[in-house]
Amino acid sequence: MSAPRVVVRKVFRRILLTTPVMLGGCCPAPSSGTYTVTSPMPEARDAGPVFSSVDAGALPRDGGSVACTSLCASAAAEVTNCAEVPSDAGPLLRCTYVVSDNFACGRRPEGLASLVGTDGDAFGRALAGMAYLEAASVPAFQRLAAELTVHGAPERLVRSARRAVREETRHARMIGALAKQHGAHPPTPHHGPTHIRALDEVAGENAAEGCVRETYGALLAGWQAFHAQDHAFRAAMEIIALDEARHAQLAWDVAHWAEGRLDARARRRVRAAREAAVAEVLDAAAQPVEHGVAREAGLPSPAHASWLVTSLRQQMWS
């Protein structure tokens, strides 16, 4: 007997209603890096002790005697730590940053090449990354529709996949236009393989890309539709969030349908694929996104990312 059908919107509603004021998280960041700068201690601007050693991970941003963010220039990066480093020439300040500007989440086709650095400002680059993923999910849904047809899935699922193709095309166009306004030009993703795969392979990809990544992305899109400071982006996300919730539902419906047609071994492989994707999301969700991008895109603070992902894991992924 297969598990009961998951209703994505009900779960989203339950999570959002019990969410703390600020949620956290972004999707696994295709690009991020840790940068360290050591420099002579900046001159104190105010009287009193402005700096003492700070333990990694215990950044006292508010209410503390030290604020790394005020000492470490952070216009283009998230300050994660700072510390005093002794030297012969006097104390030095060591600032550690994490830079990540990709937050989009969605169904990636097999063999998708990562987005190589684009032009534009930080928000523009983030939008270009999102448009790139939206465009990449078009062939992913085209392939899913073809594979569902060949494997005899209900017409309702095939129609939903075809509808998703049209919607993702529209998303890519909308977000791509916004990226261009910010000086970034999203590249066109190269198409990967299109051959029809065995049902267990289709189900494995659907579990990772649809039930995990796309589901998280849909929840995040809903959050962004409320919190984005950039008006044009927020308007786009109001449309996209509804579509993405449908795409997430499609993923769960496909999973539900496929489960009954797979043997125990194949079901274990599908489950492993889903768990690997969950681990990837958990690992990456806590990565900070550049302040300006997070504000414009309405991204939640990474400090609570684990809470959001854990909620999904408890309610949908366990």
């Binding site: 700068v37 002579p40 830079v99």
Partner: protein, 179 residues
């Protein structure tokens, strides 16, 4: 007994073990070191073009139909910095280190320089560190550690160049040459 190794080598050759071909990929990226803001440390040295790199997203690699299954080794063999705008002086930088990063993989330093010259160009020491796992992630970022001895008096644009050497099995090259 002494004959065993040559015999084994000959057998392996006859079995058609694919030969490795060396290919290079050069990547350039630019970062701006701004003049210092009073009361603040200089910002991180972020080479935007080195973020989320896929070394196979390269004309030659695509022409040769190289996939990550064909790549056996990736080593940065040459790393340099060049001032592209501003004072031709890099001596305000020392202990510069470039590292490969990728999701779920640790940071792996592959090039460094302890002191940079008072000229507009400098070569970093690249001892031949293997970064295949990072490169294979398809979204490798090259991040930097840097120590400033002082801030530049005016904004300075610096271009970094990294040459990666890839060991690729011969098979894709043969495929590409097939009409």
């Amino acid at each position: 007994m002494p004959l065993r190794m040559p015999v084994l080598a000959a057998v392996l050759l006859l079995m058609g073990c694919p030969a490795l071909v060396t290919m290079t990929v050069e990547r350039k990226a630019e970062a701006v070191i701004p003049a210092c803001t009073p009361g603040q440390a200089p910002p991180p040295l972020v080479f935007a073009g080195f973020r989320g790199m896929d070394l196979l997203a390269d004309d030659e690699m695509e022409r040769q139909r190289v996939s990550w299954d064909d790549v056996r080794s990736v080593v940065p063999i040459q790393v340099s910095l060049r001032v592209s705008q501003g004072a031709q002086d890099l001596s305000h930088l020392r202990d510069v280190q470039l590292a490969a990063e990728a999701l779920s993989l640790g940071r792996k330093a592959f090039a460094s320089a302890q002191a940079l010259p008072a000229t507009g160009e400098a070569e970093l020491n690249a001892p031949g560190i293997e970064i295949l796992a990072h490169a294979k992630s398809g979204a490798m970022t090259v991040s930097t550690d840097v120590t400033y001895t002082r801030c530049p008096a005016e904004d300075q644009a610096v271009e970094a160049t990294v040459v990666f050497e890839l060991q690729v099995t011969g098979n894709p090259l043969e495929r590409a040459s097939t009409p």
